[in-house]
């Protein structure tokens, strides 16, 4: 896989931003940088110009292990008809709201 990497390009980093305290970091894009410090700085400049965030994570795109799109049928389709895995068959007491 690394045979395809163009070593003249800076490595690719994926950027995750938390927009407010209490919320999750969300993937918002990617950028190029030579190391983690530069990736964080670039992420600040590229993705938080309009007050989008209070916290930034960056991770080397190479370090993300992704599922193979070709095995989607066996990975995900079997879940489609297992409706009993959703907790929708319980009757909840009235006192329990917001489930």
């Amino acid at each position: 896989m690394n045979a395809h990497v163009n070593h003249k390009e800076w490595p690719l980093w994926e950027v995750f931003i938390r927009s407010r305290n209490g919320l999750d970091h969300k993937h918002c894009g990617s950028l190029h940088a030579v190391d983690a410090a530069m990736a964080l700085k670039n992420a600040r400049d590229v993705f938080t110009r309009r007050m989008e965030g209070v916290s930034v994570w960056v991770v080397r795109a190479d370090d993300i292990v992704a599922s193979d799109p070709d095995v989607k049928p066996e990975m995900f389709d079997p879940a489609a008809d297992k409706i009993y895995r959703h907790p929708t068959f319980y009757t909840l007491p009235d006192e329990v709201n917001h489930m």
């Binding site: 800076w10 190029h32 940088a33 670039n42 400049d45 110009r49």
Partner: protein
């Protein structure tokens, strides 16, 4: 907000304009990189810095206009003044050069601005103190950005090191003007509006020299050269810059869009 009564003294006004003009002219120079940055991430980073600097200038011009009491607004200060009325330090009007030159200038000048903003926190000119409090956060980031690149390129390849050293040799003599005496110094010291710039040299050197050392760059020896942009005496590049920056208002006075 501003507890001082307009009009303020000429020395006070000049003091504000020296800071504002230096921010504006460097902001304009950095805006020239827009669309030409070495990588898109840096293109955006430098444009951010440019916008911060122009924002600082706008706030200071608006305050200067109100303090002066002659109805001049930010646009009049930026677009309708001739070259000799600009009192930015000469370093900021120099052409961008290569990326090394751009970065070294940003490092040397924003490190100076940081000293200035911090000292202005306690200015009796309340509006100026407020602008300083906002600007110091921006400037701290500008210094960080320039510092990172100074070390990366200074302590980088033979080529990047050579370019950084060349940029430092070229720009270093212009730092003398940051701390050179001005005619207004006596009055500024008396009124306490802000620090006399000469007093900022020790702090600036303490911040700048160690980083240049980390970047493996040699500090050039001091020369007798002192540029005089602060007094309105500019170099050959200033008029070309103003021609471009002021073109629209000169060609179509008071135009709006």
């Amino acid at each position: 907000m501003n507890t001082l009564t307009a009009p303020v003294s000429a020395a006070h006004l000049n003091y504000l304009l020296r800071i504002a003009d230096s921010s504006l002219i460097l902001g304009h120079r950095l805006s020239e990189w827009c669309g030409h940055g070495p990588v898109i991430e840096e293109d955006i980073a430098l444009t951010n810095v440019a916008l911060d600097l122009i924002g600082q200038a706008r706030a200071l011009y608006t305050h200067a206009g109100a303090s002066e009491g002659r109805d001049r607004d930010e646009d009049v200060f930026a677009f309708n003044r001739p070259q000799e009325e600009f009192c930015n330090v000469s370093m900021v009007e120099l052409p961008n050069g290569d990326y090394a030159c751009t970065i070294v200038r940003n490092f040397l000048f924003t490190a100076f601005q940081r000293e200035l903003w911090v000292a202005l926190h306690s200015s009796p000119d309340a509006a100026l103190a407020q602008i300083a409090a906002k600007s110091v956060k921006e400037t701290r980031y500008h210094v960080q950005h320039a510092s990172d690149w100074t070390v990366r390129m200074g302590d980088g390849t033979d080529e990047s090191h050579a370019r950084m050293q060349r940029a430092l040799d070229y720009l270093w003599p212009y730092t003398a003007e940051f701390f050179s005496a001005s005619l207004d110094d006596g009055e500024i010291a008396m009124s306490g509006i802000g620090p006399v710039w000469a007093s900022l040299e020790t702090g600036w050197r303490k911040a700048v020299l160690p980083l240049l050392d980390v970047a493996t760059l040699q500090i050039p020896t001091r020369t007798a050269f002192v540029s005089r942009g602060k007094e309105g005496t500019h170099g050959e590049h200033m008029q070309t810059l103003l021609n471009e920056m002021q073109f629209l208002q000169r060609a179509h006075p008071n135009c709006k869009w």
